[in-house]
Symmetry: C2
Subunit: 232 residues, 2 copies
């Protein structure tokens, strides 16, 4: 197997990132305003071409950082989009990634000039986006709704300490249905994945809720022993 005898191939493909956050009881998606053609001035999800010197997972991390300032985000690939005309400059397929994050208060400061700004937008009111990005966001939402039912991803959207009601609201927002409070608590607590903290809410004009934290190491050890998380 020699690298030199065969003709060199070139390549153009991109990565796009759908980043979910949770705020004001609402599921949000991170959008950018593009500052370069094509689609200059349009809203879009953060995405750009992949360099020859990086693998696609690394490219997704880099692009997200350059376009939004977000760092150290765990991105998961969920689908690739390859219609012939999805990019006006030629044939570009894109590999799409998604992530769910908690620290939404972090400043969003694009590092490159490709985007003017980055901002959060309600997931159920996404405007018309550049390229085929609406289709990509739709599919990411589908993936998220599926995923939340068999992995405890809700925690990724919350700060380290949270109330059970906050957790429930996330499930309700993503699954788009109401959940009975008692049943939700009973089931979640029965898994033993939550640790109740001493601390309670302060400054609320009602009974203060206890804070909990997610016991990740316990989840991982249970999972290794065949435990299956489930939340319909």
């Amino acid at each position: 197997m020699s690298r030199v005898k065969l003709p060199k191939l070139h390549s153009d493909f991109s990565v796009d990132c759908v980043i979910f956050g949770f705020d004001d009881g609402e599921l949000k998606v991170l959008l950018v305003e593009r500052n370069e053609p094509p689609y200059k001035g349009w809203k879009a999800i953060p995405g750009n071409l992949v360099y020859d010197t990086e693998d696609i997972d690394g490219a997704a991390k880099r692009v997200l950082y350059e376009l939004t300032g977000l760092k150290n985000i765990f991105l998961e690939q969920f689908y690739s989009f390859g219609k012939i005309d999805r990019h006006p400059q030629g044939r570009v397929i894109t590999v799409a990634y998604y992530s769910i994050i908690k620290r939404m208060d972090n400043g969003l400061h694009p590092v490159s000039g490709y985007t003017k700004k980055a901002f959060w937008w309600p997931a159920d009111k996404i405007p018309k986006l550049a390229f085929d990005h609406n289709e990509i966001v739709d599919r990411a939402l589908e993936t998220l709704r599926h995923k939340i039912q068999y992995e405890p991803v809700g925690f990724e959207l919350l700060p380290g300490k949270f109330t059970l009601t906050q957790l429930q609201h996330i499930y309700e927002a993503i699954l788009q249905k109401e959940i009975d409070k008692r049943n939700f608590r009973k089931k979640f607590l029965s898994y033993g994945l939550l640790t109740e903290l001493e601390e309670k809410q302060t400054g609320v004009s009602h009974r203060a809720a206890s804070f909990f934290k997610f016991n990740k190491s316990r989840y991982l050890s249970l999972k290794k022993r065949g435990f299956i998380f489930g939340m319909k």
Copy 2:
């Protein structure tokens, strides 16, 4: 948005197909022997570059046909692979598809010269393959194991009429565990997705099993009404 002012991009990416079949009580994967460099003479899964004039779903169908002679196969994309050095000729990412098929007796006749032949191979004894194809097959198997638990894909591996024992063997082969016969039947029949046929096995030296067929239209209408298939 003008297509002419911006520089033209070129592209090199490929599709690869993992095709599952079931035979002799065993899960099988369709492999080819490559007839062109790189990896000439190696075993591989069917795959090739995507043309500029076709979208990636169409490319997967075409490539599968050219390399194996298989036609009219429903392919589902499951992951893209994009490590820097996965292709010796340069940077090529590949979009991987999988399918599960029943008619394994159909002749496998490569239409193009890219492959010498195509053949079925036991899924649990995959040899060393070209490129990163072992990784691709591993991930396809994971996807299949996951999928079979919440969609009735078992039927895709069987002929139109089949016995309940055949169906059970598929679940056992894919999930790699034994299943209780009574419980399996009870559960599957309770869904009402199977229609018992008049016909029975013939020429077997034991009590003849009834044939069943999958009631697909009923499955689709149940699904529309929120029914969730589940088989752990």
